[in-house]
Amino acid sequence: MSFPTSHKTVFVLDHTLTASSGVKLEMDSFSKCRSGSTSGNGGSSGPPTPSQPQVSLIPLLPITTSLWTCAVEAITEYCRIVWDIFPGTRLIRFIAVDKTIHKLSSWNGEDQNLPNLMNSFMALGPSKNIGVGKLDLMKGLRAAIEALTEPSAVQHEKRTSLTESATKVLNKGRIILVTKINTEDEIRVYKEKFHEALLHLNKVAAATDNLMAINHCDLVLLNLWPNGLSCTIPRHTWPDVSTIMSCEFTNMQGGVSLAPTLCNLVLKHYDLASTTVTGIPMKEEQNASSSANYDVELFHPCAAHTAILRGIPSETAHLKTYREGADYETVTLKWCTPRSNASIELQHCSSAYRITSVDVNSRPSSCLTNFLLNGRWVMLEMPRKSGSKVISHMLACHGGDIYIHTMYTSRSILEDPPSISEGCGGRVTDYRIPDFGELLKANRLAPYPEPAPGSEGPSTPLEGSREHLSRHTKYWPITLSSTSLFTLGSNIEPLTSIMVKETITEDEVVECKQVILSLMSMEARGDPLPSPIAGQRGKGMKREDQYKAVWTELEQYLQMHLHCPAHEKVLECFMECHNKVATPEYKGDDKVDIDQALKELDDYNYMTEREKAEFNMAGSGTKHIPSDLIVPDSKRRHSAPPPLAPMGRSSGVSLLTLWENKVSSVQSQPCYEFQGRSRAEGNITKLYVNLQKDKEKEDGSRKK
């Protein structure tokens, strides 16, 4: 828990700074370019004006800005940078002091944006002259301390979270006083009085439930000076005024040095760093066919540089240069012509931080940001000391915010990894990958509407997705050779896509039944099954056996997908078709059944090729139905149905009776002895011996 000081900042503004900042604007210069000659700044785009007689004009008066205007301009810029980079996590409030105290905003999220800030300053109006000696800034500072003792939303949440860390939430903050200070004595007085007030108000806060005592406060005294005059008091810091307070005194002069001073301040307070993107090619406004290269400076959290700057200092010294007039360094990285497909690939990034451009309205800056806002990604290249180059960062916009991503620049420990085909299962070629692709699409995630506060149920949408996925994979053979059912392709659609649903409608039940019935009629017609060549299981099987395998698997599949009563209807339909009795009790054993299925799959996996071949040829049903009892389905349907014995716990019929009934019913049918069996040794006959031989021959020749 770092509890950053920058989490909460209060600006206390002297609203009596009516004095001139010494910054003059020549209004004449703006309208000069009317007659004749074109201006450098886009004047050429005006309509051609007929030459007019030169009128001698009365010169316009230059306008001057007040210190107050300078202060507000600087503060809004400070806030712009902070809110662009830390939306919602770094909060700023404003208190203006003249005769009274004006609290301009709160810690609430909706107050933390530029349009809102501009509106409250508009409502406040220009600075007021209230006469000497009537201003009491200490009142403002006290109000600021009180503001800091109010917890922010996140502090409140953590404090009341009933977890172990709730009591350990620290309250830190910063108060920035903007005024004009003339003597060092004033600084001393502010410092001392502030410290007293801090101690006092902490006691008050500690005695309440809803306020938090301040653990540390950083007081910044910003001395606003008019342009042209030199400040007599040097910059100074007191890092340890006491254990709970630090103090800093900084001069800020109107005019050209205002912006760099402000940048210094915001970089220091929020631990930001500067990157200059160099060599951005831009079309010239005047001459669209040529392009020149521009630089754009960006701010972002310092951490975006750690990957390239921490390490051997001499290796990266050449990247850093000082900005003109500023105390901070900027790292210069080169623009790389973006690849168009960068955004659909997965780039390896170690971090991503929001950025903002420093001179946000300049043409190069807005060109770059618009390029990014339109969805293009820009790679940034870091020149190495050795002269080689490496892509070190990437600029990309996600949903309206621009981020700087840090890329990996050093050697990867994952280099030269083994291919997936070199590991377990790598040589299997009949994975159901297209089917799995469909499963991926059916289990795609999307953001759900935010649950109403307080009404959050025990299960999140993401947990719902886990359920969803588990329903979709209840019965999912991963290779074609381990399934007959899923080799049928369109013949079993839409049954397999309907059955995985949580609930199904009557119409869908009908659709599923139709699938079963059409399969039945296919069998009756003796249509060949679209068994793929790759499927070992179907290879060389008799058509009846193929159908049998499908039916067995379908039954298993339906038994596993009993998510609602309508699902059971599909199973019932299947059972009726096959003269079986639906056993919904099965549902309870469903887990056991999966285990059983998995075990069988594992057993199958451990078999040698030979065993597998035998297993497959013997038909998939062997495990469930003793081979002696196999009656080809076609035969069964033509002859009288076996006596229907109610199964399950409720029936009260013993297993022995069932068995005997079954056996006697089979024996009662005329049954020709299978040719192969009469010749068999130990009741096992090798089927398709020639085929096996052929295969071996073929394999042998392939190896050569």
């Binding site: 828990m1 950053p4 703006f30 309208s31 007659s35 886009g42 316009l60 306008i63 800005t65 507000v72 301009e73 810029e77 712009r80 530029l114 501009m118 508009m122 600075s127 860390s165 205002l258 990957a307 390490g311 051997i312 955004s343 659909i344 170690s350 991503a352 903002t356 001179d359 946000v360 940001t369 990437m394 996600h398 309206g400 991503h405 420990i413 994952l414 990894p417 083994p418 085909s421 590991g423 377990c424 299962g425 297209p434 991926l440 795609r444 995630l445 999307a446 953001p447 649950p451 999140t460 949408p461 993401l462 719902g464 997705s465 996925l469 209840k474 019965y475 290779t479 999966i594 996996n605």
Partner: protein, 513 residues
């Protein structure tokens, strides 16, 4: 994690195992074994472990005395390191600082500052003649001097100090606090001393202990609904322990990795990852299998091939993700998520990769809270659309940032000037640009009011008034009317409600707005 074996080759390593009489020349075979032989023996145990279980790791061998030398740069050829161990020369005195410096330098050059590493310092339990100097430089590093003391390492690293010494040796007793201080400085690590007397056996045990605590590989199960596969992660995932703004995150990766759903690769938009790991399927026996490359000789057809022919869910998942260009959002621990995806180092070999996010549900801003993602097919309207043409990602931010807002910034030179010139440009194209003219005018007016800059309003009114007088005779009558309306409105700012924007004057000429 890349590992540096930092081996002390000072003269004292050539002592016999018996501390009491280092220069014994008896026939006793046990005392013939030198400490450096035991060190090499231990290192070989570690390297054999890599050969057996961590084939994809990197190790390097650095020897040090008063100077350091990289004998083997980082490699996966552990046999080569074993070979190099046999060729180690004897040098002068132990200078741990130099050795650590060498390890830091070598790791930084090779892996940068973001890769977690292991440093195994093998020494004889005698901090050596340089002890005082070491102590001094440790002190100065504490006082944040300019000295370049290598600890803590400028990258995440564990420092294990392995002492080839009898536990009761006096010089070990004096050196131990120093070692302890080194480990404290680095933050992570341990001191290892043999249990009982210094023998081949006790050294082996000590190294086994080292391996167990620091080099054990990850073994877990990848679940996706009812499908699953045993997997290992390379490199093994490290626990996460960092201070966030308002909480301390302490989590480690569970032995189960659960796929929760899938996302388009384009939609996740290259999210930042805390670490990346290869996901390698394990055989049913729990071994990592590396089949010979397809074109290798057919001698290995025996056992290896069987493992390759048993279907693994990992391969299916990889194939599906690659085919659909998607990633699988997965949970790896409490409140810790990551994505699985197909990744190719080069065009030929692709494999399954796991990128772990920073722990927490709110870690990728453009995906929203991860816990708030659910099956798209169960939403009233599937946001991916019927033909997969749309996407719910990225989540749009509520408040536009300054660079998308056309915000006013006059604190820099030229800001105000270009804003006024823009107004004038539009003014000269009236009435065609009436809407743009008023839009820019109001933008500047609003900012001027917010900044308490009423002089600007007056100044701007003057400029527009002059524009009006300078209108060419051929200009549209509406131009003059709108300009006059604008400058009059600017001047009356304090009389009317200043929040109201100035709206274009409806004239009989302005038909085609």
């Amino acid at each position: 994690m890349p590992t540096v074996v930092l081996l002390d080759v000072s003269l004292s390593m050539s002592r016999g195992v018996d501390a009491v009489s280092p220069c014994q020349e008896e026939e006793d075979t046990e005392s013939q074994i030198l400490r450096k032989d035991l060190a090499v023996h231990g290192c070989n145990i570690l390297l054999d472990h890599f050969i057996q279980h961590c084939k994809l790791e990197f190790a390097s061998l650095i020897v040090f005395s008063s100077v350091y030398k990289v004998l083997m740069p980082f490699t996966r050829d552990f046999e080569a390191i074993k070979g190099a161990l046999n060729l180690v020369d004897e040098c002068d005195k132990t200078c741990i600082e130099v050795g650590l410096m060498g390890a830091a330098q070598h790791i930084l050059e090779e892996w940068g500052n973001g890769t977690p590493c292991q440093v195994v310092l093998v020494t004889d339990g005698n901090a050596g003649t340089g002890q005082h100097h070491l102590q001094k430089s440790m002190m100065s590093s504490h006082s944040r001097g300019a000295s370049q003391f290598p600890l803590p390492f400028p990258f995440p690293a564990k420092l294990n100090i392995v002492c080839i010494a009898n536990p009761n040796e006096p010089c070990l007793q004096t050196s131990k606090p120093l070692y302890q201080r080194l480990i404290e400085l680095n933050g992570e690590g341990d001191i290892l001393v043999p249990e009982g007397n210094l023998t081949k056996q006790s050294v082996s045990e000590m190294f086994e202990h080292l391996i167990k605590n620091n080099f054990s590989s990850y073994s877990g199960v990848l679940h996706c609904g009812s499908l699953s596969a045993p997997v290992t992660l390379s490199p093994p995932p490290q626990p996460y322990c960092r201070h966030h703004d308002f909480e301390i995150m302490r989590v480690s990766v569970d032995p189960t990795i659960t796929v929760l759903g899938f996302l388009n690769t384009g939609d996740v938009s290259s999210p930042p990852a805390f670490s990346r790991h290869l996901v390698l399927p394990l055989s049913a026996k729990g071994d990592m299998v590396m089949l010979p490359k397809a074109d290798a000789g057919s001698d290995d057809e025996g056992t290896g091939n069987d493992e390759g022919k048993i279907p693994s869910f990992c391969v299916l998942l990889h194939g599906g993700l690659k085919r659909e260009n998607m990633v699988a959002l997965s949970q790896v621990g409490e409140n810790w998520y990551g994505i699985l995806y197909s990744w190719a180092d080069n065009k030929k070999k692709s494999n399954l990769m796991l990128s772990l996010f920073v722990p927490g549900v709110d870690v990728i801003p453009w995906m929203g809270k991860l816990s708030n993602l659910g099956p798209a097919s169960q939403l009233p309207v599937n946001p991916y659309g019927p033909s997969d043409t749309s996407s719910p990602f990225p989540l749009k931010v509520h408040e536009k940032k300054s660079y998308a807002l056309n915000s006013v910034v006059w604190v820099r030179q030229g800001g105000l000037q270009s804003d006024i010139q823009k107004i004038l440009r539009h003014a000269r194209k009236l009435p065609d640009k009436t809407q743009s003219f008023y839009k820019e005018l109001n933008r500047v007016r609003k900012a001027a009011l917010a900044y308490g800059f009423s002089e600007l309003l007056e100044g701007l009114a003057n400029v527009l008034e002059r524009e009006c007088t300078l209108l060419p005779p051929t200009s549209h009558p509406d131009a003059a009317i709108q300009l006059q309306h604008a400058y009059e409105a600017l001047r009356s700012h304090d009389r009317k409600d200043s929040r109201q924007n100035i709206t274009p004057l409806k004239t009989t000429f302005s038909g085609n707005d």
